[in-house]
């Protein structure tokens, strides 16, 4: 069962979103925000079909993403820096709606 989702956007920008699925709580950079189950479901649906590692580019300060799905018995990590999944823009747009 999914317990927690952590979404980190790193580099020159710094975003940390912690989604506590069990307690219906979301924190955006440690500030609590409204829990939106519909958007969270859409985000999960996108993430589960991603590769685990999109690799890195050679630029300075390109954006890095690290997403963790934490279940009872698994800790699944998806990451990339400068290289992103095909639908990363849509993912970021949905994230924007969440926060």
């Amino acid at each position: 069962m999914l317990k927690e989702i952590n979404i980190n956007i790193l580099g020159l920008n710094n975003l940390n979103i912690n989604i506590d699925i069990l307690n219906n709580k979301i924190k955006n950079n440690n500030k609590e925000i409204k829990f939106n189950y519909e958007i969270i479901s859409k985000l999960i649906n996108m993430i589960v079909l991603w590769k685990y590692d999109y690799g890195r580019d050679n630029e300075f300060d390109s954006e890095e993403f690290i997403i963790e799905l934490i279940t009872d018995n698994e800790n699944i990590i998806y990451k990339g820096k400068g290289n992103y999944p095909e639908n990363y823009d849509d993912f970021k747009s949905l994230l924007g709606e969440l926060v």
Partner: protein, 600 residues
Amino acid sequence: MKNYMAFFDSNNYIKKMIPTIIEVFVAYYGEDKRDEITAKFNNALVVSPISSESLSSMILKLKKDITSQLIEEFKKNKHSNLSTNDLLGNVFNFDFNVPIKYFSDFYKEYVNEYNNKNIDNDNLEKKFHRTIELISKINPKITLSNFYQYLNDEEILNLVKDSELIDKIYNEYNEFLKDYNSYIKYSESLKNLYSIIKKKYRKEFILDNLDLLDDNLKNIINDYLNDKLYNYKDREKIDGIFGSSYGGNGYLDFFSSIANDKLLNGRDFEKKEIKNNRVKYFNTMGINLGSNYDDYVQANISFPNVERVDKLINDKNKYNELASQEFIKNTKSYIDIYKEQKDFDAINLNEPKDILFKGNSSLANSSTYVRETDNGFKLAPVVTIGIGYDLEGTDHKIIHEFNHLYELTLNAVMNNKAEYVCGWDIVEDDLTNNISSDEKREYELFNEIINEKITQEICEKMQEKNLHIFNGQSDFMYKGLTSYEHTNFIVDSFFNKYKEDIIKSRSNGNMRHIFDVVGEDNFNAMNDLFYVFQDNFNGSKYYSLCSAISKINNNEELSDKDKDLIKKYQLIQTKRDKILEKMAEYKELNYMNNNEINSK
């Protein structure tokens, strides 16, 4: 108020500010570095993209800022005993009517009709209805028919004065916005354009994949495809199958070859989600055998063809890309930057990256390029400062990237490979194919935090000297903005103790200098701590560590997980302290040896 005009015209503005940026860096690095700084900064292409979404977001912020100022003016000058909140509501901006404005509209109409002895018209009744909530706060007995009895009531007269005040404020609001009208209209036109383009390619995508819908759904979508309807009914079903036009996977995505592969080789949670979505697909298609996926497998139902689904996904990506390209390439930001990049004539500098023009375009980076001249290969760097939602950090971003630019050198070009040194970071580009190496650069993290520490010192200098680029004194932020600062605890003492030597070693590929001061082994040992940090505290684990440290400071009980994190953190601190001791010993020994040599 923020310098919004600068933000709206960021690509031109930032170029005009390069002399100021030069002054900022000279103030920090010294007059003796002026020529070098000027040459490096004038040699780069500096661009500042802004996406349609960022533009729209900034316009909302501008309106909100103007509104906040005008609310203060209203508060100071209002007459009514009702609160500002009663009179203005939760006003975000004055694009919309507020309660006192509705009263103003009603009152003007009422007086006009009253004088014409014609107060029984529908229009007046509608206007009264919009303001009745405010009026009843003064006196709940007031109605449209008896309003004339209260025309000289003190509180009604106060409302009338506040109506005049709000009318004046709305005029001031519109006057303020006049200077920005061209950007506001442009932003609206972009939203319309986006909507048209998105719909065009959505229709093409659906037409290409109509065979995947049953007859019933085909009929439903027909009127939309023929432009008889703006949108289609049963959106949940159709978007459920295809995915929404605004992002997110559809159920069919979970029958792709990628999904099949994950079903065989993926993680348990991923497998479960794939199965759940497949069940949802079957349910949408009218097949309901319960929630257990295996029942659908065993029932021998026809599954969507994998190749057909892969084609659907390829089509979706293709049409999304076409829509994105068509839209972006019609924005002024893209058109201007594309031309500049083309004219800059650097090897492998192709079209600007899409990501700079999408969503919150708050990205910034420095990119390494070269051009071939009669005198050999020369640096042709590109600095990109995206303007996004976080306007207050813009000057900080600029300084961070320009410091990379200052520290950038072209080491060599050999066998079609260009090697650059930037501070302590070595980057290699293949000039034949523009494909970057995906290996982690050895000193990448160490380099970034030191660049950030220097950046913050330069920002302090800016504040001291009242030098600004986009931000003003009141909206200038430069600390706690980056994730690099999570490793401050590793480098703070090192940076403060060896600052002069650090700065000297980061210029023009002079890394040997810091090795000579602190010892190459010791330097590399400190670099290794960043890998330890990454393994243990990258991403959300850092926040868990912060939470554990906070619990210690508040004398709260620690969980086992907290204790484990603290233990790892303390281990890094201990190693760091030992390395700092060895660095000091090395420097001392070096100093004594040099003195001995000099005295001989």
